[in-house]
Symmetry: C2
Subunit: 147 residues, 2 copies
């Protein structure tokens, strides 16, 4: 049970996207402005989204300009133990991101929501690198009554 | 191997969303303007996207204001035999759409792309019902080098 997405960012180099995935400043620019912690391997990054809470991600693997792997160590029960990965490659003048949120135990309604929300945040990442401004929480695209 | 999404449309009634999924005029407003065919049960709807081609969907089930099920009978090889369903319910002042594209044989890169693209089209459907104007092809959001 995985959530999969593919987005292409118009970018001269893979490094720009890699930086947006591996620095606090980058992550704050497309996912949530309330991002703190240690983005190095074995560090834990805390992503917060206001009262509903957030996610703590342990950084498992970092291969510069190529691969990022996080493990969810705290957050909603359905997320704990799942992994989130980003694989990067160059095609034409695009940096392609292959995204995978892996290890969901059941296709609960929350998984449907997270799938759509991830798509929206990945488009925010694209927008950040292409234009300099993304749409991170609290300015994220509202997709439903679950925000 | 399924693609799942959840979107909530601010709408006074389930019928508005159901109509957008079951009439040619509705479908042309959020997925592709080049939509023709027979949207009744056992009819085939042809969705076209310019030179890359398109999809022929056989309408398998229609439960007014509740459930729509299509089977892909022609299109890209990976899509043939898969099914696409929309389940509707009311929550607060939202019509919730639970979307499922079911039966992918392999998690090929095209599936990653289609997952993100479906999210984008479902947000176009939300926009259509909420504002009267969606972003169907050829005015759809470009997510990558694969459009």
């Amino acid at each position: 049970m995985d959530i999969l997405h593919r987005v292409g960012v118009k970018s001269a180099s893979l490094d720009e996207v890699y930086d947006a995935l591996t620095t606090l400043e980058g992550l704050r620019g497309w996912w949530t402005t309330d991002t703190t912690g240690d983005p190095e391997v074995d560090g834990v990054i805390a992503f917060r989204f206001g009262p509903p809470g957030g996610f703590d991600m342990k950084v498992r693997e970092l291969h510069p300009a190529k691969h990022v792997l996080w493990e969810v160590v705290d957050g909603p029960e359905e997320w704990i133990g799942t992994t989130v990965s980003f694989d990067l490659k160059q095609e034409d003048d695009f940096t392609i991101i292959l995204f995978k949120h892996e290890g969901w135990r059941d296709p609960v309604e929350f998984m449907y929501h997270c799938s759509t929300k991830w798509a929206s945040f990945l488009l925010s990442l694209k927008q950040l690198v292409e234009t300099g401004t993304g749409s991170p929480t609290p300015n994220d695209v509202q997709i439903s009554n679950w925000h």
